[in-house]
């Protein structure tokens, strides 16, 4: 038989999800908080929909900066406690978009690599739900091929000078600061010679130009830098180590439950619309979706646990993202195929389905495309 000679291989390393403390109590606290904001819930693709008022309320309730130290306004909770909170917010379709990137990746990066000045300046506001950030990775010439970034940082007597352009920057127009990956070493190639900088969005020389997405919404942007001057403290981490740091940032960006829950409110609406005794065909589809959802959640929990244990879950996170994106992307089309929803129908189910049909193509693009993610998995399999 195959593999007789070798010990059994495993396609996925399983880590037990075991947050400290009373998880049921924590969940109940989040649900009680959500109940107070019920009118704001049920948003499709909710982690790109910003509501500063909601973010501030979350901050006041202690649900932001959960894993940050108290000195900077954080709550010193366990990363898996934070996971419990964010999966509850996502499942309810809470409008978490304003602070999402700051809480998920920028704050941990600043904490780990940022200067003292940067920590003092930004972290307390992030914990309060008042400071929002955006991701400055993609450029017109650098999409999947991120190592092609050309935006430059030049060291001068007054400080760093940034020139160039970012694109597809989600929420740039609502953000206070961008964490950008730029080329700090002139003449460097590919992933060498890159550094990360915090760029205040109100800095002179920085312009934001909206890009309207296909749903007609202003969500992402072009951001131009015309000799933008930055102080020394704006550099994050070590000069020239930007690639390694951005990789750590991507691990946070790609590994969370938002990679399979973007359409969850539609699943909820489907089940509610079907009622307790659905016709056989609908019942069977709900069963299939439930099995997929449950399995994805188990995979996501294990990935979060691996990350929290200080190990690199690159392959597992890529697997969850790939499978999760396909699930959340297919969901509106599966509902469409199943339920009679003519374009004139205007109840919750039809509205959510239509919104997600339009939003879904982005699910397997943002945060690294399906093909790039599968390439990472293939590398994990030893194929490249």
């Amino acid at each position: 038989m195959a593999g007789n000679a070798m010990t059994m291989q495993q396609s996925f390393t399983i880590f037990p999800f075991d947050p400290p403390g009373d998880v049921a109590k924590l969940r109940a606290e989040v649900r009680a908080f959500l109940a107070q904001h019920e009118a704001k819930l049920g948003v499709p693709n909710c982690w790109v929909v910003g509501d500063p008022e909601f973010s501030r309320a979350l901050g006041a309730a202690g649900f932001l900066g959960m894993i940050l130290p108290k000195e900077v306004g954080g709550h010193e909770r366990h990363p898996l406690e934070r996971y419990v909170v964010i999966e509850e917010l996502l499942a309810a379709g809470a409008p978490v978009g304003a602070h999402w990137i700051a809480d998920r990746q920028t704050a941990p990066l600043i904490l780990r690599y940022g200067s003292e000045e940067a920590k003092q300046r930004y972290l307390p506001g992030i914990c309060r739900g008042e400071i929002y950030t955006c991701i400055g990775l993609s450029e017109p010439g650098a999409g999947s091929d991120l190592a092609a970034v050309r935006t430059s940082a030049r060291q001068t007597a007054e400080g760093w000078r940034i020139s160039g352009q970012k694109i597809w920057t989600s929420g740039a127009h609502l953000s206070h600061v961008m964490l950008a990956l730029v080329r700090s070493e002139e003449g460097s190639e590919r992933n060498a010679g890159l550094s990360q900088f915090l760029i205040p969005m109100d800095a002179p020389g920085l312009t934001i130009k909206p890009i309207i997405d296909m749903a007609g919404e202003h969500h992402f942007n072009e951001v131009f830098f015309d000799d933008v001057l930055l102080p020394e403290w704006a550099m994050v981490g070590t000069r020239g180590q930007g690639w390694v740091q951005a990789t750590a940032e991507l691990a946070l960006e790609r590994s969370g439950p938002e990679r399979y829950l973007s359409s969850h409110v539609l699943m909820t609406a489907l089940i509610d619309a079907a009622g307790p005794n659905p016709e056989p065909q609908i019942k069977a589809r709900i069963g299939e979706l439930t099995a997929e959802l449950w399995t994805l959640r188990q995979m996501s929990l294990s990935t979060a646990a691996k990350l929290a244990a200080g190990e690199d879950p690159m392959v597992e996170a890529s697997m969850v993202k790939d499978l999760g994106n396909s699930f959340e992307q297919a969901l509106p089309q599966r509902v469409q195929a199943l339920v009679d929803c003519p374009s004139t129908r205007d109840d919750d189910l039809a509205r959510l389905m239509r919104a997600l049909l339009i939003a879904a193509p982005s699910f397997s693009l943002r945060g690294g495309t399906r093909e790039i993610i599968r390439g990472i998995i293939a590398r994990g399999l030893g194929l490249r």
Binding site: M1, A2, M8, I14, G287, A291, L323, R374
Partner: protein, 236 residues
Amino acid sequence: MSEQRALLCDTAEAVFAEAVVEGMAPIEAAGFDQLLVPEAEGGFGGDWGDLFAVLRIAGAKVPHLAVGERIVGGEISRPIGAFILVAQAAGAMDAALAMSIDYVNTRQQFGKALGKFQAVQQVLAIFAVEAAAVNVAGAAAAAALDKAGGDAEQALFEIAAAKLRTNKAIGQATSIAHQVHGAIGFTREYDLHKLTGPLLDWRSDHGNDAYWADLLGAMAADLGGVGLWHEVTRRG
């Protein structure tokens, strides 16, 4: 993995490797029929996670032998039967994946190993994700059985979800395994069918997709939209 489970897996690897040669698995001689029997009753005192680990190996090494039924013993209920097949499928799928990777790294066409072609890499990534889903679902169903003290009715939600997800994965995984192997994988002589044949059988046995989808769908509908999320998170 606990030390006890690691030891158990070592034994299982050795026993099932031998069974391949002998054509039968010495379940009783190896003491595997005592796996779930409590220590107080003179058994091994293992849990369902241990059983899952052993059955994964059985599924990879001796998929044609009904190992699970003999380890659990007695009359096998449909949910327990389904769990056994999920566990065996987890191992068989990982083995078929390893075999496929091995093959595309060896077989050359157009002057290079097949595994260097991006199209091949991408389908094997899909295969790996499906295998991962089955392994995670199976392990989680085992954990649910442990929590329920082995009462399959109490772990029915997880077993239903795991078997249904496994059934779906079997379709995709076996297709990809055969596709990347080309004609050689379609021969009697080559070992791939020893994994894919049983995998395809297991999709029908102890409940096909329709059976488990109906059962799980009824549970979910009964819970309602938000109720389903609450139940999923409550169960762990």
